[in-house]
Amino acid sequence: MSRVHDMGGRFGDGAVIPDLPDAPVFEKDWHARTLAITLAAGALGQWNLDISRHARERLAPKDYSRLSYYEKWIAALADLLVEKGVVTREELRAGHAEGGSPLAERKLLAANVGAVLAKGGPVDRAGTAPKFKMSDNVRTIHPAANRFVAGGHTRLPSYASGQTGEVRAFHGCHIFPDAHAHGRGEDPRPIYAVAFPAQALWGPSADPRDEVILDLWEPYLEPAHG
């Protein structure tokens, strides 16, 4: 079932506070540092983006709600570093290294930063032919949950689970996060943009003309009849 990060449609969060026009990119120096350390640690190649997202999502709900955005990043990074054996719990506690690391040769160097960021990490892959075509009606699986691992990573939000929508675009085959976050390989699957009427999701309070579009992998979808 869902985790705390799956908050689309939730009540109780109050107003959105737009920033001031001259707000800095990073409000605090440590925000910038956290982003940079996270990217640099990712470059060591011990996890992928889906594992990294899942590490934030599986912070305890109490922590997820209590921690600020970049605190979540640093907390999840520390978890990953220990889980993957990059640093030990003792080193983390002491704040000092007990020895070097065999991964040091993979260290991201300043001279390579530009090239690494420019290269990106495309997720489109060769894969199976799509089962659905444009304008098909599809129904999303219910509940929204990883079908491989209980409590595992998935990208079908709860609010769009068990809903009927219309296929608006086919994006080819992309790496399937539900597999990729759990050491099950890239497992590329067809992915579609699917449109849901706002009133189907939220009831009559929504404007009857409005809609929400999500990018959804084929395993999240079943044919909808009638």
Binding site: H5, G12, G14, G100, A160, D207
Partner: protein, 208 residues
């Protein structure tokens, strides 16, 4: 002036780093000692997203689309190829889709599950985009959220919210403001705000 206690006697704590700042510093020290992180590389990453990559990139794309119909057609047909040609491909912008606002449709982008955002075009997302309130409410009551941003929709516009659940990154092509006829792409780009490209703003004409 962090050490100038004389002017700020009641806020002695302000000279100390906040607790998360200490934790981040400790982690950086540890990873640096282990030879896993190069502090100069961290500086370079920060410099990139603080000064080099930001909404000015996206604004150049939009201004060009407003003034070059062939480019606009190419941009809407294959966003990734069109922005790559302008040099705006990269991390968190590997798969780009551009969606066009018209008198019939207003587009708005959110990531309810985390904070997905087209970095090479808009830089690092602002705090409100990453906030629980925006993530929770943009899909359920986009019109109320737009009102909080001071956006007034045309009575003819439906709202289409894009929840970035995958690696597709969305850029909104705002409507070109009235009173900008004859302006060049270079003159138009400063009129394209970041929020207009997320769909929580609209592009406004030059101030009279």
């Amino acid at each position: 002036m962090p050490h100038d206690h004389a002017h700020d006697p009641d806020h002695a704590h302000a000279v100390l780093p906040s607790e998360p700042a200490l934790r981040v510093k400790a982690l950086e020290t540890l990873l640096t000692e282990k030879g896993l992180v190069d502090p100069a590389a961290l500086d370079e990453i920060i410099d990139t997203y603080q000064d080099k990559i930001g909404p000015k990139n996206g604004a150049k794309v939009i201004a060009r689309a407003w003034t070059d119909p062939a480019f606009k057609a190419a941009l809407l047909a294959d966003g990734t190829a069109a922005v790559s040609e302008m040099g705006f491909y990269g991390r968190q912008g590997e798969h780009v889709t551009v969606v066009e606002n018209t008198p019939e449709v207003h587009n708005m982008v959110v990531c309810t599950l985390c904070s997905c955002y087209p970095w090479p075009l808009l830089g690092i997302p602002p705090a409100w985009y990453k906030s629980d309130a925006y993530r929770a409410r943009a899909v359920r009551e986009p019109r109320a959220v737009l009102a909080e941003f001071g956006v007034t929709l045309l009575p003819t516009q439906k709202v289409r919210v894009w929840d970035s659940t995958a690696e597709m990154r969305y850029l909104v092509l705002p409507m070109r403001p009235e009173g900008t006829e004859g302006m060049s792409a270079a003159e138009l780009a400063p009129l394209v705000s970041r929020d207009a490209m997320v769909g929580t703003g609209i592009a406004r004409g030059p101030k009279p």
